[in-house]
Symmetry: C2
Subunit: 418 residues, 2 copies
């Protein structure tokens, strides 16, 4: 496709002069999505409501592992059993941070060193990936090694080779379903290779962030093989820390979360957690368990979300198809679920596109955020987050976004000709 | 007072044969206390309720430092200003744990070493004190040094001498008001000495757990001088991490908490906290701020608690006065607030008393829990927690408790004679 740089400059200046203020930077649910969960606010309204099915007074102290009905909810969501679940507070990110923090200070296997006592600790980071995962590694001075994503998940040839030969590699970040930001779901083969692979480090752990486990965007959603049960076939179930939450099912700020793992790990985590807290908010666990009495109730809620989110993804794809088809180096993902579309741009244009958009009033996720240390060496990936703005705002943002992409591509083409 | 060991043995056997099951082990609010906060459950019941005074949608992500109305609430409770407050989740213990964990992995002063990189890190632990404070130190392998409590707080002559000469001492645990378990409130002089004292370690920190700041048991409550404002007079405001919560004002399992400190510390904590979570539960912050619109609302609620708790404390003291007066080595505290009475017993009898009580069906806080590593060298302190059992249960527990105390004392007297 021929790009007319002068026409694009004029078009861009026209957008910039409008003084727009639009935000497509984060994977946040929209107000309309949140409005569909009003019933959560009245799920527990009197003293008598506060007693769990086992007679626990959820107002008082205790219940480090969570109440049974909340465990059952997460177990059904993840295809696991209740004893494999510890219910947390409002943030699964916090559970991930805590798990890494404990691994650093105390290790993950009885009798083995705390990770902080090793000269070097490395994590594999499939890219593009999630900036908040990378931020945890950076904070704890964990060396991050990029691993490319394929259409079936991380490139397992590379993962298997690296973990087999390098004992400094203690972990890997995974978003196995509707991966942030590619939207890819790991294939059965990928899951099985994670369960069966040999690792040089006996204390290697997979951080399996199942954030989007039921976040479908079509009636023919992806299927993810459950990893802990696969791992049991190989005796590697201690390898997996599984995380999930209701952040994008109910309220991002006031949902509930869980960590799931082998019985040995659950026992160890509870022993350590007992030093940290007397227990998480059990009344909020009750609210969730009362609203979602069965897994079908969750699926019903996600169908409501689907109807609100799908039009936004369709709109983005329509604009991209109409405006960007045929531009060399430009492509984008078509996920069946999750919160993101990944836009691939020509090398060394992503930062320029994000800057152009920002200057014209459209905030995007920073280019580079998809990579460890905020550095994408090829500068060719932008995470598109369509869920938060209302449709009409998106309708105003997308022409500008497409203009920025085309202008940056035109600039690059002209610089190559110069 | 003459103790007849044979009569006491008979009396004890009679108690033991009743098969009682009573629990005075933890500082938990009773069901009746919790029942007085039912209105918290309906403080936020519809979507429109979820918007904070500044227009923040509390259902969604964000708000790492908490919403303004919750900050204002804690600021008024603590005599501080809103920018000095970070609102947390349901557990101030978790904030304390996190603060120690971050100090271990990253230090507390820019440019200084993480505590874990020192050969030795020590904390001063006023005794008797709170077992969960000590558990955090033990978990992080922090060496604990006992400091005796006086009627004005920790023995400041000892504290000042130790922190001035020993640079391995990086912290001290304080429960400055209605101290757990002595019920002592630090005198103005003690507070000022904490603010003004010289420390060998530049990264020394005071963990000021103001758990019982408004938990009065009389109409003439203790007064605690606010420490951060005192510290500003000496330029030592970075020394103090202040913690508080509504755990014993609303619901222990579903309240809100805060950490307060100097502006430099607040800035540093928020920078680190941003790696750990996107934000704590803001809807629960809203619930609390809506129920307690002014500080007077808090005081009103505490007056309701006072009416429920004071009869229990009075009952314990009546039994102790009647049954234990005149026994050599036996005494107890008469706190103006808080959740505990400290019972002092003759040397090497506390464990025996707790064991006798347990065997007869009355669970007490383990003897030794009031000291680091669970070891009280003199074995002469028992923490009495009267709040949880209903009055009629307490009425059944106290005769047994007094019998166990007298029997252990009689056993000791007879062993000395033998």
């Amino acid at each position: 496709m021929e790009l007319d740089i002068n026409a694009l400059r004029t078009e861009y200046e026209e957008f910039a002069s409008r003084g727009m203020k639009l935000d497509m930077s984060r994977g946040k649910p929209s107000k309309e999505q949140l409005d569909t969960m009003e019933r959560l606010l009245t799920a527990v309204t009197c003293n008598a409501d506060c007693i769990s099915e086992n007679g626990v007074d959820c107002r008082n102290y205790g219940g480090l592992d969570g109440i049974d009905e909340a465990k059952r909810l997460f177990a059904s969501m993840l295809g696991l059993t209740m004893p494999e679940i510890i219910v947390g507070g409002n943030s699964s990110l916090n559970l991930m941070y805590d798990t890494v923090a404990r691994a650093m200070s105390h290790g993950v296997v009885d009798g083995m060193k705390p990770w902080a006592k090793y000269d070097k600790v490395s994590f594999l980071c499939p890219v593009p990936g999630y900036d908040r995962h990378f931020a945890i590694c950076e904070y704890f001075n964990i060396n991050m090694i990029n691993v490319p994503m394929t259409s079936e998940g991380p490139d397992m040839d590379i993962v298997e080779r690296l973990v087999a030969e390098d004992e400094t590699i203690k972990g890997i970040w995974c978003t196995p379903k509707y991966s942030n930001p590619t939207g890819i779901t790991y294939s059965d083969d990928t899951v099985r290779r994670f369960a069966s692979m040999k690792t040089a480090a006996a204390d290697f752990r997979v951080f399996w962030d199942n954030a989007y486990v039921w976040h479908d965007l079509t009636e023919h959603p992806d299927y993810l093989l459950e990893v802990l049960n696969e791992a049991k076939k190989y005796g590697t179930e201690d390898r997996f820390f599984i995380f999930a939450s209701t952040s994008k099912i109910t309220f991002p700020g006031a949902g509930i979360s869980c960590i799931a793992s082998s019985s040995a790990n659950v026992k160890r985590i509870l022993r350590e957690l007992s030093v940290q807290t007397i227990g998480h908010d059990k009344i909020n666990q009750l609210r969730h368990a009362r609203v979602f009495r069965t897994f079908d109730d969750i699926k019903e809620q996600m169908a409501v979300h689907l109807n609100l989110i799908r039009p936004k993804f369709k709109l983005v794809r329509r604009y991209f198809r109409t405006e960007l088809s045929g531009i060399p180096g430009v492509s984008w993902t078509r996920p069946n679920g999750g919160y993101f579309i990944t836009l691939y741009t020509p090398k060394h244009t992503a930062k320029r596109i994000v800057a152009l958009a920002a200057d014209a009033g459209l905030k995007l996720t920073p280019a580079g955020a998809t990579h460890p240390y905020g550095v994408n060496p090829d500068d060719d990936v932008i995470r598109i987050a369509p869920t938060y703005p209302p449709l009409d705002e998106l309708e105003r943002a997308l022409p500008l976004l497409c203009c920025c992409i085309k202008l940056a591509c035109a600039e690059k083409q002209s610089s190559l000709i110069d």
